[in-house]
């Protein structure tokens, strides 16, 4: 028995890698249906966005990169889908250089009219970039949404937007047109003109900075989606009411998919995550049993 425990302790880590790989990949193909329970944090976020009147303008701050895509991209897609279906207009920005491109990726992903275009007044409008189709609803670039791109400067960009959005973002990402030429930007002069901020954050600069500057200083309501690693740092802001909802990791993304009524990637991947968590716990338990079983003997030897 002792030898078995000793062998367990010296197990090749490639075996652990293989088990985790199988735990993550097999559930994807099994099509297991799971029931996601919506937590208060996500319900608060949903209540906040569902209470916004039609035509409200939301700032979507995408502060993440592809490394956090499995957790945050489903939140972006669910958020955009909900905004378009409920006639909520949105302005995309990024304090991370990759953020606005991740937003583009999410919009292309939710667009249901692939490789199609229309010609209007001599202009060719492409679905996926100029027009986004979600079921019977359509969002049009410049009118219903706009992407202002990335701006360097971290929290000082937020501070600058507090007095003038144009000073921080003079033109948009796609066309390079001055922002005041877009229909959606009419009357949007400073941060407090937004009805809500939806922040997707994987670190610094991110949710903490949006709360400290946009919420506390300029009094704009903000809801956030964070990676599972970052979420615990943000909980104090949720508890104090400074944050209007929080989605943490893939679980938060799956909960958002449930409340908005469109189960997608996060719900599917939650099965894999559950399996991986179970195996990690099993590893820890086995590791501890083996450790304590062999420790006594090695102690006597010593």
């Amino acid at each position: 028995m002792q030898r078995i425990f000793e062998k367990l302790l010296a197990i090749d880590r490639r075996i652990i890698f293989l088990v985790i790989f199988l735990a993550l990949s097999i559930p994807i193909f099994l099509g297991i249906k799971i029931n996601i329970k919506v937590t208060d944090e996500v319900q608060i976020f949903y209540d906040a966005i569902s209470s916004l009147p039609s035509g409200s303008r939301i700032m979507v701050a995408c502060d993440y990169d592809p490394g956090s895509e499995p957790e945050l991209q489903p939140m972006a897609e669910s958020g955009f889908r909900y905004f378009i279906q409920n006639n909520l207009r949105f302005v995309i920005i990024g304090l991370w250089p990759q953020g606005p491109m991740q937003a583009n990726k999410a919009l292309v992903s939710i667009n249901e009219a692939k490789d199609e275009f229309i010609v209007e007044n001599g202009d060719t409008l492409y679905f996926g970039t100029d027009l986004i189709v979600v079921g019977p609803d359509t969002a049009r670039y410049g009118i219903d949404f706009v992407n202002l791109g990335f701006q360097a400067g971290n929290e000082l960009v937020i501070q600058r937007m507090g007095s003038s959005i144009k000073a921080a973002f003079a033109s948009d990402l796609r066309l390079g047109k001055p922002i005041e030429e877009f229909d959606i930007m009419r009357g949007l002069n400073q941060l407090s003109d937004f009805d809500f901020i939806f922040n997707l954050s994987a670190g610094y600069p991110g949710t903490v900075e949006w709360v400290q500057f946009a919420v506390d200083r300029f009094h704009v309501a903000c809801g956030a989606g964070n990676t599972a690693v970052q979420a615990p740092q943000v909980y104090p802001y949720l508890d104090s009411g400074q944050l209007s909802g929080l989605m943490g990791g893939m679980k938060g993304a799956a909960e958002l998919e449930k409340v908005v009524g469109h189960k997608a990637k996060a719900t599917m991947f939650m099965v894999s995550q559950t399996a991986a968590h179970i195996f990690v716990i099993l590893f820890i338990v086995i590791g501890n049993i083996a450790y304590f079983a062999t420790r006594g003997k090695s102690g006597r030897k010593g």
Binding site: D40, P66, M101, L156, A167, P236, H277, I284, G287
Partner: protein
């Protein structure tokens, strides 16, 4: 005045990106020149850097280089994005391996940490509801509820303590600098 400083900060931050890129090139070229043992990685770095810069500047429609469908976007979606995601995904494997070897209930504190980790890890999955049902746990004692209690109370208390500690540290350091007690940033002792 605050707006002016913000503008200048943005300008300096934008310039710093260029500085960073040029510094990366300099370090990589130096490695190749000195025939460092890691010079092959430096070659890959330079080629990748030049590839994305050239694709962005000359083959992606100028200003609209980040548009879906451009060469820059193709590289972002098909090269940068999977590589970046892979780096992060590998964490899962290393975490599993490390937790097997290092996460031990050696003393009371480590055991509490271990139990809290179990509850949060299980509580953050739908498996917790199934498990709570198997053991007929009452509503308040269900694993997902215990996980929420840990996150909303113990975690919040700990995070607040860290925030307050950092703030006090920042204030004391600022005072030391303002009063001239702290001079190490000037190169002195």
């Amino acid at each position: 005045m605050a707006d002016m400083f913000s503008d200048w900060f943005s300008i300096i931050a934008a310039c710093a990106i260029w500085l960073g890129a040029l510094n990366l090139l300099k370090i990589s070229l130096n490695k190749i020149y000195k025939k460092d043992k890691d010079r092959f990685y430096a070659v890959v770095t330079i080629i990748s850097f030049l590839l994305i810069v050239i694709a962005g500047f000359f083959f992606s429609g100028g200003r609209r280089f980040q548009e879906p469908g451009t060469s820059f976007d193709w590289l972002y979606i098909n090269v940068y994005s999977p590589l970046s995601a892979t780096m992060f995904a590998m964490l899962a494997f290393y975490v599993a391996s490390a937790s097997y070897r290092a996460f031990r209930a050696r003393n009371a504190q480590a055991t509490i940490l271990l139990l809290a980790a179990f509850v949060v890890m299980i509580g953050r999955t739908p498996f917790s509801d199934w498990l709570s049902g198997v053991f007929f746990l009452p509503e308040g004692w269900q694993i997902s509820n215990l996980s929420n209690i840990i996150m909303n109370f113990f975690n919040v208390a700990g995070q607040r303590a860290i925030m307050i500690g950092i703030s006090l540290g920042l204030i004391s350091t600022a005072l030391r600098v303002i009063l001239g007690i702290e001079r190490t940033y000037l190169g002195g002792d």
